[in-house]
């Protein structure tokens, strides 16, 4: 009886209204390049001071869920990932928009985000304390193995493996710029204080994907090769839904698992899910050319992380990613201490949060589907104007992260780099993955070696590390095996 009253409290019109507002606000924030869900939650925490805990926390959760989903809107329509977690959505979402299927791509992204979100919310409600305990078993060796597995995605993402590997290694090297994560010694900063903590990730991403695309568009505009993009319908057809079903479910599972492991985040989940969808597909060559399962895999995974990242936060008091770290502040402002005691002392808050996650995910689906026609109006803007507007958003978005002019130079630098990478066939995605996972791999490799006194055997000692390293080997071998098979078949013909 008590639980049902806690659930019903969320359905109070004032709470529903605030969750709806939070979700919609989050979607807008997520769609604007440079404004992340983290920033949205951080900016609006002060508004929750005077609210009841369930109301305030659910508004923040609405912003979080809406923000992660919103990133896909600009990723699909403008090749500008609104948030780092939607960088992988660019790979298939933007080619779909170029092909005149922007509406369908957004439709699939919305459905996949909903499926991923609801799946993780069910897991959150059913298994929160048990799963959080498993995640606590992750040490440096396990994190390193997870990062290595993530880095092997490069092999299957790059059409040209040689150039993909070069781009990946370059990404790892670029990730080394700034203070060494263990000793704090400066590396490759050239005395510029703005680089002391390395290249800011969001400006780098905006440059790599958005500004580089601006340069490509300029070439097209000047050589009169611009085709007006069509919007098309919003519902994927039965065949596309059938093809995307498994990647969506797998993405939900991967996102849930990655979300539970503290410190990994939705960007990693999206890339791993994309790689798995491609690896297990019967038509891997279609990925990257505008293939619906690619969008389904990434969006289901990054939205599953939202609910799953709440598991270690609520059950153990450990934030699963950066946004949940900010959310933790929101909980503490309300006088609540996240952790096992929260379940006993404040069951109404825990149940309210569980219910709020479901409600926010449903609002996200409704607003997402209703808004597609509105979002896609952006494609009707004249190309020259849109190109210049994207430039302004690139600059304002890069500035908004740290209010630091060095981030603008970083963004322009990565824009030029991304343009040349595109022109000469180097995978921008490989560089992006390495930028995310390189620092994680390095710090955990060195922490692992320090704890084992330079014994490399530490990385092969536990079942979790063996599991991830096994997956990494598979991830490297399968594309090679597949291409060898194709060559053999071609030789027979």
């Amino acid at each position: 009886m008590e639980i049902s009253s806690y659930v019903l409290a969320v359905f109070d019109p004032s709470v529903l209204w605030i969750i709806a507002l939070g979700t919609l606000g989050g979607m807008i924030i997520g769609a604007l390049p440079g404004l992340t869900a983290t920033m949205g939650v951080a900016l609006l925490i002060p508004l929750t001071f005077g609210m009841a805990p369930v109301m305030g926390l659910n508004m923040l959760i609405g912003i979080y869920i809406g923000g992660i989903y919103g990133g896909c809107i600009s990723a699909i329509l403008l090749r500008t990932p609104g948030t780092p977690s939607s960088a992988a959505t660019v790979l298939d979402g933007y080619p779909l928009a170029q092909r005149g299927e922007a509406g369908k791509a957004l439709g699939m992204a919305t459905i996949a985000s909903f499926v991923g979100g609801i799946f993780a919310a069910i897991v959150l409600a059913a298994l929160a304390p048990q799963l959080a305990t498993l995640a606590l078993k992750f040490g440096p060796a396990e994190y390193f193995a997870l990062a290595v597995f993530g880095l092997t995605i490069i092999a299957s993402l790059s059409g040209d493996i040689l150039k993909g590997a070069i781009a990946g290694l370059a990404g790892v090297l670029i990730g080394c710029v700034g203070a060494d994560p263990i000793s704090g010694i400066s590396r490759y900063t050239f005395g510029v204080s703005g680089f002391a903590s390395g290249f800011a990730f969001t400006p780098a991403l905006i440059g790599l994907f958005a500004l580089s695309e601006v340069f490509v568009q300029i070439e097209k505009i000047l050589s009169d090769r611009v085709e007006r993009m069509k919007v098309g319908g919003i519902w994927p057809n039965r065949q596309e839904m059938k093809e995307s079903g498994m990647p969506m479910l797998r993405g939900s599972l991967i996102g849930t698992f990655i979300g539970i492991v503290p410190g990994t985040g939705s960007g990693t989940a999206a890339w791993i899910s994309y790689n798995e969808a491609r690896r297990t597909s019967k038509t891997p060559e279609k990925f990257g050319t505008g293939h619906m399962p690619g969008v389904a895999a990434t969006e289901s995974a990054n939205n599953a992380v939202c609910a799953a990242a709440l598991i270690p936060l609520l059950a153990l008091g450990i934030p699963g990613d950066v946004v949940t770290a900010v959310l933790m502040g929101g909980l503490m402002i309300q006088g609540l201490a996240p952790g096992p005691m929260l379940f006993q002392q404040n069951p109404e808050v825990v149940t309210g949060i569980f219910t709020g996650v479901f409600v926010a995910t449903i609002f996200m689906l409704v607003f997402g589907l209703l808004g597609i026609r509105f979002f896609t109006q952006i494609l009707r803007v004249p190309r020259r104007l849109l190109t210049m507007a994207i430039v302004v958003f690139c600059f304002v978005g890069s500035w908004a992260i740290n209010l630091n002019v060095v981030d603008l130079y970083t963004m322009v630098g990565f824009g030029v780099l991304g343009y040349f990478m595109q022109k000469y066939g180097f995978s921008q995605a490989a560089l992006c993955i390495a930028l995310i996972l390189g620092p994680m791999a390095e710090s955990n490799l060195r922490l692992g070696l320090m704890s084992a006194r330079d014994d490399l055997g530490v990385f092969l000692s536990g079942p979790i590390t063996l599991f991830f390293l096994g997956l990494a080997v598979l991830s490297l071998l399968l594309p090679a095996l597949r291409s060898w098979k194709q060559q053999r078949q071609a030789a027979k013909v």
Binding site: L222, V391, V392, L403, L408, R446
Partner: protein, 158 residues
């Protein structure tokens, strides 16, 4: 196929980059506290890795045969576009210069004047000559972004 020949040039560029990166890496302490793997450990692995892969890229570029028919077909395809492409290249270079100037001016001159100037110059570079599109629309877009970020989202713009 023609791209493969460019690979040789790219490989040489990458090798030059590796030499520069290796020189900078020698300035980073090699051993860390409590472990042989210090701050220079991963940088060295990546520099050597890129160098080896660049050599492989160079060899692959040399071994790729480009047939005469492929070269002539590519030349024929390019011929009518050549003048347009040349203009596009000049504009692209000017655009990169504009982006650098915008980055420098953003904080020093302020968001509003620097953005309006960049927007207008950019539109002119893209061969837009209609007054409404060149002057009025940029002013409206820039003002809307300013209002949205400063007043609605509470993000400071200089």
């Amino acid at each position: 196929m023609l791209l493969k020949r460019t690979d040789c040039g790219l490989a040489l560029l990458l090798l030059a980059f590796c030499a520069f990166a290796a020189w900078r890496t020698t300035m980073v302490p090699s051993s860390g506290a409590g472990s042989q793997a210090g701050p220079a450990f991963l940088p060295w692995i990546t520099v050597v890795g890129i160098a080896l892969l660049s050599v492989a890229l160079f060899i692959r570029g040399l071994r790729t045969e480009v047939t005469v028919s492929e070269v002539s077909a590519a030349n024929e395809e390019r011929a009518p576009q050549r003048s347009g492409v040349r203009y596009a290249t000049v504009v692209l270079v000017l655009f990169v210069v504009l982006m650098i100037a915008y980055a420098i001016a953003f904080e020093r001159v302020g968001y509003l004047p620097s953005t309006i100037a960049t927007f207008v110059i950019g539109m002119l570079l893209l061969r837009e000559r209609r007054v409404l599109q060149v002057l009025v629309v940029p002013a409206v877009v820039v003002a809307c972004v300013y209002y949205g970020f400063t007043y609605l989202l509470d993000v400071y713009l200089p």
